[in-house]
């Protein structure tokens, strides 16, 4: 799922450090990317590329494990065998994605331990949508369907990016996400076309999640001026607005088709085929990303507890003579 669609903390042009890179190597690097070649872990790359990719893959990995928490709490409450087993398998996939992504990020030189430490110390971010609560089973279904759908839009684009290990991880992830989407859609359809209690639950959950879904792809391109170099290097493959438009195109009709409504009176497709909508509250988005959302503290506390409670196991697993080996793909 759950890739943080917008990479937070993109540097300003003043701090790119490109003036310190070898111009010949840099030109070769850019030419390779322009030809559609993949960059592999042992290849030369500019520091900024390494830094941005590490940050992006790491945030994506964190989003998978933090994102497994709000849906994970519904494993023990899923109604009936069929849903219980599917919810388990679905959430397990997400943790597996984190494992794949941490390995991909490690190829760039940062260890999993360091990444997890940065996560619980608040240095690294994860997808902001998981700072919102999932008070009902229907909320979990909305995530399974629509957050995963958003992630697929983003990840299908990024799978065509320039960094080999990340692209290969994304190919595998997207294949599994396609099943999650079917699972989420099936669960939402059952609720939306079910008993009055179910329909009410589902509509309320959708109303709760829609503002967060609209921020999922990150701030509008007109608010973000630093994407040019990342697009040229194929770190970022589609703009935030393009992803958001594609998502609305694909999913608004499906949502309306099953009798649900969307809580935005301004949402409509104009004559040019462009979706118009009420501008999301980006100030609130920033406030939540920076730690002041309804669930930030809880999510990090769960992760920290897991790290602390499991520390003795990891200490015991360390062989005194073992050396860290960076994975290659």
């Amino acid at each position: 799922m759950y890739g943080s669609a917008s990479t937070h903390d993109i540097p300003t042009q003043a701090t790119t450090g490109l003036e310190n890179e070898d111009p010949i190597l840099l030109a070769e690097f850019e030419a390779r990317i322009a030809r559609g070649e993949k960059i592999e872990p042992t290849d030369w790359m500019p520091q900024l590329y390494r830094k941005q990719l590490t940050r992006m893959i790491e945030q994506h990995a964190h989003s998978e494990i933090i994102g497994s928490l709000p849906e994970g709490t519904w494993i023990t409450r899923a109604p009936g065998f069929r849903r219980k087993m599917a919810q388990m398998a679905k959430v397990q996939d997400e943790v597996g994605h984190a494992q794949l992504l941490y390995s991909a990020a490690e190829t760039l030189g940062k260890t999993r331990e360091q990444m997890l430490s940065d996560l619980i110390n608040g240095k690294s971010k994860y997808s902001n949508v998981f700072n919102y609560p999932t008070p009902t089973w229907a909320d979990s279904n909305v995530i399974s369907w629509l957050i995963d759908a958003g992630a697929i839009v983003n990840q299908m684009a990024n799978a065509k990016g320039s960094y080999g290990p990340y692209c290969r991880a994304l190919d595998r992830i997207c294949a599994e996400e396609a099943f999650h989407l079917k699972y989420g859609h099936d669960a939402v359809v059952h609720m939306a076309t079910g008993t009055p209690i179910q329909r009410k639950m589902m509509q309320e959950a959708l109303n709760r999640w829609w503002p967060a879904i609209m921020t999922f792809f990150g701030p509008s391109d007109k608010m973000s001026t630093h994407t040019e170099i990342l697009m040229r290097w194929k770190v970022k493959m589609a703009t935030n607005d393009a992803c958001r438009q594609q998502f609305l195109d694909m999913y608004v009709p499906k949502i309306l088709e099953i009798g649900l409504t969307l809580p935005d009176a301004n949402l409509r497709k104009n004559e040019d085929g462009v979706w118009e909508f009420s501008e999301p509250d980006w100030e609130d988005f920033k406030r939540v990303i920076n730690g002041d959302g309804p669930c930030n503290a809880e999510r990090i506390a769960v992760r920290r507890a897991a790290e602390e409670n499991g520390a003795w196991v990891r200490r015991a697993m360390q062989q005194p003579k073992a050396q860290y080996v960076r994975p290659l793909a």
Binding site: I65, L69, T76, A306, W312, V313
Partner: protein
């Protein structure tokens, strides 16, 4: 109770409740790979319990969802070992080790049951349980020979858990008939095989198996007597299901 029903309820409830507990490791494992492993085992156990509830349904009991999601604690026949909260990883690992050794031997024996539908299920289930035992053995051997801290923790968990594990083998009034009709080899024989099986693995570690004859088994689960932990587990499990029992979720 009919010996078939008696046996099936015990088997199915054990698998359902421990599967549920194992699933609680999502997001909490000491390493990601263990979140994933416990989830796989939980999914297997849920699947096993479903197969067994389907056999019960064929014998005239209610639908699997109804049986699993609407009974209260006194109507459950799981051993108390399965219902204890997950605690820390040392306890969950030792529980998994002690339970799955018994479970693998149980289903290997059930593969020869005179009750053919159960034998068929058992032949499938035992193949999956083999991997659960392999997983448990790998970790018990690794942590049981690692740091002093790990060995101390594992030993304490073993000593805490063993009396509950002996409760796996609690018998019911149907036991004699279960054995004589060839349904199952019986709990006493299973316990004998289990002791040999866990001893062999523990002998390869720095852990000490206490004299089991000196321990008092924690019994009652097979007769519907449970710890205070089971009813809250069941309430949580049925929380959504009970919102609208007429609904198709």
């Amino acid at each position: 109770m009919d010996p078939k029903l008696d046996l099936l309820y015990r088997l199915a409830d054990d698998q359902l409740i421990l599967g549920h507990r194992n699933s609680e490791w999502n997001g909490l494992g000491p390493i990601l790979e263990e979140d994933i492993a416990f989830s796989s085992m939980a999914q297997d156990k849920l699947g096993h319990s479903l197969q067994l509830y389907m056999l019960l349904h064929e014998l005239g009991e209610a639908e699997p969802d109804t049986v699993a999601f609407t009974r209260n604690a006194p109507q459950f026949h799981c051993c108390q070992l399965t219902e204890l909260p997950i605690g820390e990883y040392d306890f969950s690992l030792i529980r998994h080790f002690l339970f799955d050794h018994a479970e693998l031997l149980r289903f290997e024996a059930l593969a020869n049951s005179s009750y053919e539908p159960l034998a068929l299920v058992a032949r499938k289930v035992k193949g999956e349980l083999k991997y659960h035992v392999l997983h448990a053995n790998t970790w018990v051997k690794r942590l049981g020979t690692a740091t002093e801290e790990a060995i101390t923790r594992m030993q304490a968990a073993l000593e805490f858990t063993l009396p509950y594990a002996l409760g796996i083998f609690e018998t019911t009034d149907a036991e004699n008939e279960i054995i004589s009709s060839g349904l199952f080899i019986g709990e006493k024989e299973l316990q004998r095989r289990w002791e040999a099986s866990i001893s062999k693995v523990l002998a390869q570690t720095a852990l000490t198996l206490p004299d089991l004859r000196l321990l008092t088994p924690v019994a009652g689960g097979r007769h519907g007597q449970h710890t205070e932990h089971l009813q809250p587990l069941l309430d949580e499990m049925a929380e959504v299901f009970r919102l609208d029992p007429t609904a198709d979720w």
